[in-house]
Subunit: 139 residues, 2 copies
DNA sequence: ACATCCATTAGAATAGTTCTAAATTACCGC
DNA sequence: GCGGTAATTTAGAACTATTCTAATGGATGT
């Protein structure tokens, strides 16, 4: 695919989500949505942008990640306080968290079948289920 | 139960967990382990200590909550970045999180039966499963 | 091209938590 | 009980991740 084609594709992706395709957003989107699912912090995205010589400020990285999240292009994952991970996989899935390495892996929701749910509080309905399998090196 | 009995009971609880029963730790433990399960932030514990006129600094509240957690008397729950919740229920259970109110409720692990787990990464074993049912007001 | 509105930016501000170093307190053996 | 030692507490500074502010720059529609 040509560089122009890729650019147009990303621009279409952003516009389809109701986000204006600016230079900075396109640069970050190009790296985020390169076909490989990622779990990244704002700092990591910023570093990646610097390596690409894309001149995007940290404030813009935060703005963009938050915009992408509200637009449904990313999902936030919080594991251990401290920092927020942004997940490029917005489909129905859960996570494995390596407590020693501090990194996340996706697992399909179907691999953790939940047979039944408890009654929810009066007037409330389910918005999402988060499942995290915390693992460590076997003893 | 007399005040002295309660004090001795708490001191035994802390010592049993390998934590020295200091005045500050006993004061916080008295409030934390009063028989009602709680999900509290450091700030809330500090406020409670002030209301009890217990003169415990915020730094000590953090130290104590972390000590209690490593000693197995408390469990950390992280939901939304920002702040850490400390859970006085260390048994096998999951959580319901009210996205609007920002508060947590316990649910027994058995109320969310998990039929099967995926294969874990080579050399890793399960340390814990976290399940959070996120709810909001029904539309 | 113009006007409008939205996005970007550096730097300050904020929130939650941890660190530092000095003073206090608990514990242990005598 | 008493003293020595090591652990604990504390105020305040420091730190980290994130958001805010207000000024500049850029995209979009006509």
């Amino acid at each position: 695919m040509s560089v122009k084609q890729k650019h147009d594709e990303l621009a279409a992706l952003l516009q389809g989500a109701g986000v204006r395709p600016t230079r900075q957003r396109l640069a970050l989107a190009a790296w985020l949505f390169d076909g490989h699912d990622k779990h990244v912090t704002a700092e990591q995205v910023h570093d990646a942008a610097l390596k690409m010589r894309a001149h995007v400020s940290l404030a813009t990285v935060y703005n963009t990640l938050n915009n992408f999240t509200t637009a449904g292009l990313l999902r936030q994952v919080v594991i251990d306080g401290g920092q927020i991970y942004f997940d490029t996989n917005t489909g129905d899935h859960y996570h494995i968290f390596d407590e020693e390495g501090g990194y996340l892996t996706d697992i399909p929701a179907a691999s953790v079948p939940i047979a039944r749910l408890p009654k929810l509080p009066q007037g409330k309905s389910l918005s999402r289920i988060d499942v995290v399998l915390r693992v460590r090196t076997s003893s």
